[in-house]
């Protein structure tokens, strides 16, 4: 009888077998260690950043700082002006980027025929998401200020510029979320006589919403931290009072941090760190919201 046809049970206790098992265990251990090291590196950097900022900045976080605006004297500066500028800018951004981004995603996924034109659009959107933000700043400068003559340094223009930047991110996240809704759900709705719009609004969008929201908030958090495009459209002026509306001159949190970090006076070091704490807290809240929304609305099949 040939060896391949033997019927006696495998002997798992030979030396070769044991060596195999030991090698396998060793590989598992090595992999776990490498993974742990990778995590430690990123967590370490984050901890270092948080701790230094906290130690340096906590002393500067007082009521005056939280309610005031920019000033020449580091003891009298406040973050409220820049915070409000960021808030107004973000409002413009989301009011524009979310509906347009989601509609584009729905159109591309559910309506557009697959042809060369939609391929071109798809490639353009993917590229747009990768364009460096300074380019969007230049675009905003050319279009909104020089052509449309909107006011300089205004949250309106900042928001418009950041919306251009955030839109492709929302379109991509939206398309992926829409794509992950099983086709059988569309069939089910069409099968009882739902129209395409009803399919989209009653079934596809609600199921895709957690993904869309997560993508949107990630895009918004990125926009919140953007500095370069805002510098281009003039949101770097010295503004001593918080903006009262979307067209008032304003600055934004990251720009304020950038401006203060450039100051020579030693008192600004603490204020820069304090401003970073505020910005990070704002971002944490936004990311927390993304996680909450995802868990809250996620459908389990």
């Amino acid at each position: 009888m040939s060896d391949a046809l033997r019927i006696d049970p495998t002997d798992w206790r030979t030396d070769t077998m044991r060596r195999r098992i030991r090698a396998r265990y060793a590989a598992e251990r090595r992999f776990r260690l490498a993974g742990l090291a990778a995590i430690l590196i990123s967590v370490g950097f984050l901890a270092f950043l948080l701790i230094t900022m906290f130690v340096n900045g906590i002393g500067g976080l007082d009521w005056t700082f939280l309610t005031g605006s920019d000033a020449t004297d580091p003891d009298r500066v406040g973050i409220w002006g820049a915070f409000k500028g960021s808030l107004l800018t973000m409002l413009v951004t989301i009011a524009l980027a979310f509906p347009i981004g989601v509609l584009s995603a729905v159109y591309l996924e559910e309506y557009a025929p697959r042809n060369r034109w939609t391929d071109v659009i798809e490639v353009s959107i993917n590229n747009l998401a990768a364009v460096p933000s300074i380019i969007f700043g230049l675009l905003g400068l050319a279009v909104f200020l020089n052509t449309m003559h909107l006011p300089r340094s205004a949250p309106l223009v900042g928001g418009l510029t950041l919306a251009l930047m955030t839109m492709p991110v929302i379109v991509i996240a939206g398309r992926n979320a829409i794509k992950s809704v099983p086709p059988s759900i569309r069939d089910a709705a069409l099968g009882v006589g739902a129209s395409r719009i009803q399919v989209v609004f009653h079934h596809v969008l609600p199921l895709a919403l957690p993904g869309i929201l997560t993508g949107t908030i990630i895009g918004m958090a990125r926009a919140l931290g953007e500095t370069a495009p805002l510098l281009m459209i003039g949101m770097r002026a010295f503004i001593a009072s918080p903006p009262q509306g979307f067209t008032d001159p304003a600055t934004a949190l990251p720009v304020q941090i950038f401006l203060w970090s450039d100051e020579v006076s030693r008192g600004f070091v603490e204020k820069t760190s304090a401003a970073i704490i505020v910005l990070l807290a704002f971002m944490l809240v936004m990311n927390g919201l993304a996680i909450y929304l995802r868990n809250r609305f996620e459908t389990r099949w």
Binding site: S184, I185, D187, A188, G191, G193
Partner: protein
């Protein structure tokens, strides 16, 4: 076809061709769908049963490269004609899919969806009654009446499929198309669906696709045998199974290929 029919057919298809791009999946099929009987479509996998079934409620419209030629009528109305609204057609010709596909919503919402979008119910009371009636007819009411607000996706496979049948029934269709409704179910759930088909017969014209010949023999009175996109033979189920006229039909039902 020379079978005795007392009533005019519910649906008729004449010289229907279906193409996916350049590929012809259905070739010159003509068939009448009886209103008081269950019609079974049988044939080896890939022969075009689903494709043809989906022409009957225009679900093929949703496939980008699919093209339908020929005349298909519902009570004498051209369903591909300009006067036919496709949403209305799909309410009148309901469909049950191969894999149970309840919405990830409550049992109640699953059944209420159709009546809602078509504006059938004047109020909550009326809608409740419609949901109950559909669930009763689908043989599911007793099992779910105490948990209508639970998710439809939490039911067992067989219950999900009966929920899908209830969802189709709720819009009061004239025809129900079923595409291998039992292929994902165990034998007991399958038996329940077959029983249900018996009960629904007469009230609705029913077309069922199956690759299970015993099932076709059990549930249908008319059987159409498809092969490679062609309708090979169509007739009384007992005739097809005991006395097929075509060699290919005989080969198939005796298990010589499939």
């Amino acid at each position: 076809m020379d079978m005795e029919t007392t009533l005019a057919p519910k649906m008729t298809a004449a010289n229907v061709n279906v193409f996916y791009g350049d590929k012809r999946a259905i070739e010159d099929v003509s068939i009448d769908v009886s209103r008081e009987h269950v019609t079974a479509f049988i044939g080896p996998s890939g022969c075009g049963k689903s494709t043809f079934l989906r022409t009957l409620n225009r679900m093929n419209d949703t496939i980008a490269n699919a093209r339908v030629e020929g005349l298909i009528e519902l009570d004498g109305e051209d369903i591909y004609g300009p006067a036919m609204e496709v949403e209305q057609l799909r309410a009148r010709v309901g469909m049950v899919f191969q894999k149970p596909n309840p919405f990830p919503k409550s049992i109640y919402e699953n059944v209420a969806y159709g009546p809602r979008i078509h504006g059938f119910a004047a109020g909550k009371v009326e809608l409740d009654a419609m949901v109950e009636r559909a669930l009763v007819r689908a043989g599911l009411w007793e099992e779910v009446k105490d948990r209508l607000s639970e998710s439809g996706t939490a039911l067992s496979g067989g219950q999900q499929q009966r929920l899908c049948i209830a969802r189709a029934i709720a819009v009061d269709p004239e025809v129900i198309l079923m595409d291998e409704p039992c292929s994902a179910l165990d034998p007991i759930a399958t038996a329940k669906i077959e029983e249900l088909i018996h009960e629904l017969r007469g009230r609705y014209a029913i077309v069922i696709v199956t690759h299970n010949m015993q099932q076709a023999a059990r549930v249908s009175q008319r059987t159409a045998f498809f092969h490679l996109g062609v309708l090979v033979e169509y007739g009384e189920t007992t005739e097809i199974f005991t006395n097929p006229r075509q060699k290919r039909t005989e080969d198939y039902i005796t298990g010589r290929y499939g």
